[in-house]
Amino acid sequence: MNSDSREQFETLWTNFLEGELDDAETDLLRELLTSDEELRQMAIELYQTHRLLGLLIQEESTGNDGFIEGVMSEVLRHQESFDSRAMKRVREQAQAQSRSAPALVRQRPVPSTWHRKWMTVSMMGISLLMMIWLAGKVLRDDQRLAHRGNDGQSTTVETVEPPVKFSRVAKARFFGELTPAADSTVTLHQSYVLMSGMVELLFPGGAQAIIEGPAVFEAQPDNCLAVNLGRCSVHAPDGAEGFRVETPDTRVVDRGTRFTVDVSEFNETKIQVVEGIADIYKSASPRSASRGLRPDTLNLEVDENEFATTTGARAEEVRLRSKEAIKVLAESGFIVTPEVFDAQRHRMQLPDRVVSYTATLNEADGKSELLETVTVQRGGEEVTYAADDLIPVELIGFRVSRNQGRFDHVLGGEELVGHPAQALADHSLVTGVINPGGSVASLQSSPVLNSDPENNVLGTPGMAVRFARPVKNGPGPDIVFFEIHPLPSPADGDAFHVSPLQLTSGKKSHTIREYDLSVNSPEALPVTRMLAHEAERGEIESLAALQKAKFSLRPVRLEYRALAVGIDLSDLGYAPGEEAEGLFIQDAEDNDIYVDPVLIGGLP
């Protein structure tokens, strides 16, 4: 070692330990260490000194009790695992014996109800999702069994890290399970089949991934998302670099970036980088051809040599930069072809929508009664409004569209208080004017509001409301619409058409078939007891008739939830900033259940 190289080493090694080594210095340091055994030894000793210093100072500052408590806490958490280990080993041995007969692997028990569902589902898309999900499940089970070392000791352990969360959920429906609540924990190694809608996952390292249904995905330890089908848009902010997306054929490693991964059912994976850098590798799993999820990262048996030491040195390793896109086809080899970059494919955030609401709880049954706040995402920002801040509505028109059978039109307390139409203007989620008329087709011309049956002037079936003051068309939803919906029910919520009061100058009707908070959403709260006011004469042809109608009261026995959806005036043809005086609402008549509005409010 000469003095020059020693001086260089001093600077470079200190920079390395301080995380300040730039690319040129890296190359220089590598040359120095490669050629000088003495320097290498010194580097190791300095490195060990550096790490031991960290440990020593930690001991001085906090002692070792914190560590011991942490370990014991984890040990206690794993007590059940320990207790059941003997039985687990018996099961594993039984499964291992089964695996010796290949045909039995495919006959691995599937929960019978799921199997029956799978057999009966006619939609090809659902079948496909299920097949991929089942394949992933079987392969993961196999991989877990395969983790046992030659000496009979398993080399896998459960990881210890903060949970992955469903940070946001938008109209998500899963196969075989309830929609998770926002901020709930994602179960690691569980294959989720997202039928429709979107979810945003937040990983412990800070990376966010928006997954759009249909998709099959699985969260894995160590900041990893496995996507077997579907599209995910990833944002890894500073500090979240290293986040990985595993697909059946590729591994995408984030280097501080936004990127999109799109896995098709035809073994194609499209990857594009919106900003920053991402490295793409051929998947480590030898089972990738059969579309299984790769083994988890704790498996020591993964072949290290599948990864080249230099990014880009082999075809299996590709570095993508901003605005670059590729398609990977891995059926025969690992074929990478350029793809057209499409910024629209990357989703920066979940759609604007009603996110959640809060309500007072009835003292008798602890269920929701009066709206307190509603949180709406508008233009990407979540805003919470107090119920008092909402712009209330006045009912100015009403007509049913069928005249036979029993029909409830008002919800409320045991006695009607004042004007029946006022039941829609208060903050209550259990009072409203329900079952308005409808039409299969949405309006193409202005609705007739001034119904006068005596003079043969019939109003348009539906209901008209006017806001206490005009509602301005802002970003995202401008109006919140609540309806009650029973459990169980064949639909997630009652579809309806919504139109301006006057269909002129570019205005149009819009049909809402999905609620932001549907029956499946944990955020759609169960509501307290209601009394339905049943019109003694079923046919209510005008608002005047509704006001004069005689009602008999009956309790509502089914459990209901208050669903919510945001209405964007842009969908009705309003220009940004333009104001709406009111709305016309019609049931979409897609089934026998009519829409049941309980609260409509304009956003200030």
């Binding site: 200190t14 920079n15 060990q48 011991i68 370990v71 984890e74 398993s154 490693v253």
Partner: protein
């Protein structure tokens, strides 16, 4: 690492854990916590959180306790688990590292693995010697140890606090580490 007395204590504790008294596992953790962390600190490549690996190792030992044959060498068994855990973490870190940082991880891992015959006790001894050496440091140098390893402040902040340039701070850190390295080396050699 563990004398005969400890050995009996550990075996008794393990027996009680198997019988369902999970709290007895704390004896195991308290006995091996320091040598385990010292061993990991001396063996782990950059980016690895040694406490995380140590915790996983203890938990893995607990959940696989039925695989340990009572009366044999628990310490060796535990450290073999830790070695696997360290390899796993190193593999993970290596995969997520980019090329530029991966070489350093590779180099250090290779060099550290060349010393794999070193007994775990040796690193605990180095840790103890380092503690002694730290006691001999001048206050001005000790201040940098605290800033860097306890407070974890940036080089720029250290420069501001001490009224020196960042380059001077780097030089100071070099001198500090090298001095401690030589001190530990000398004391360890004297003991061997």
């Amino acid at each position: 690492m563990t004398d005969t007395h400890d050995h009996h204590t550990i075996e008794e504790a393990l027996q009680k854990v198997r019988a369902g008294d999970v709290d007895e596992f704390e004896i195991v953790v308290r006995t091996f916590e320091r040598p385990m962390r010292a061993w990991l600190a001396g063996r782990a490549s950059p980016g690895i959180d040694i406490d995380e690996v140590a915790q996983r190792s203890f938990v893995a030992a607990f959940t696989r306790l039925d695989q340990y044959e009572p009366g044999t060498n628990f310490s060796a068994w535990l450290f073999s688990i830790a070695r696997y855990q360290l390899q796993t973490e190193a593999t993970r870190i290596r995969r997520v590292a980019d090329y530029r940082s991966r070489w350093a991880s590779d180099l250090l891992t290779r060099e550290l693995e060349r010393q794999q015959d070193e007994k775990p006790e040796l690193l605990e001894m180095r840790l103890e010697q380092l503690k002694h050496c730290l006691g001999f440091l001048e206050d001005s140098m000790r201040q940098f140890v605290d800033w860097r390893y306890r407070d974890e402040i940036s080089l720029e902040e250290m420069a501001e606090k001490s009224g020196r340039s960042v380059a001077a701070i780097k030089k100071q850190l070099w001198l500090l580490r090298n001095k401690l390295r030589e001190c530990v080396k000398m004391r360890t050699a004297a003991l061997e």
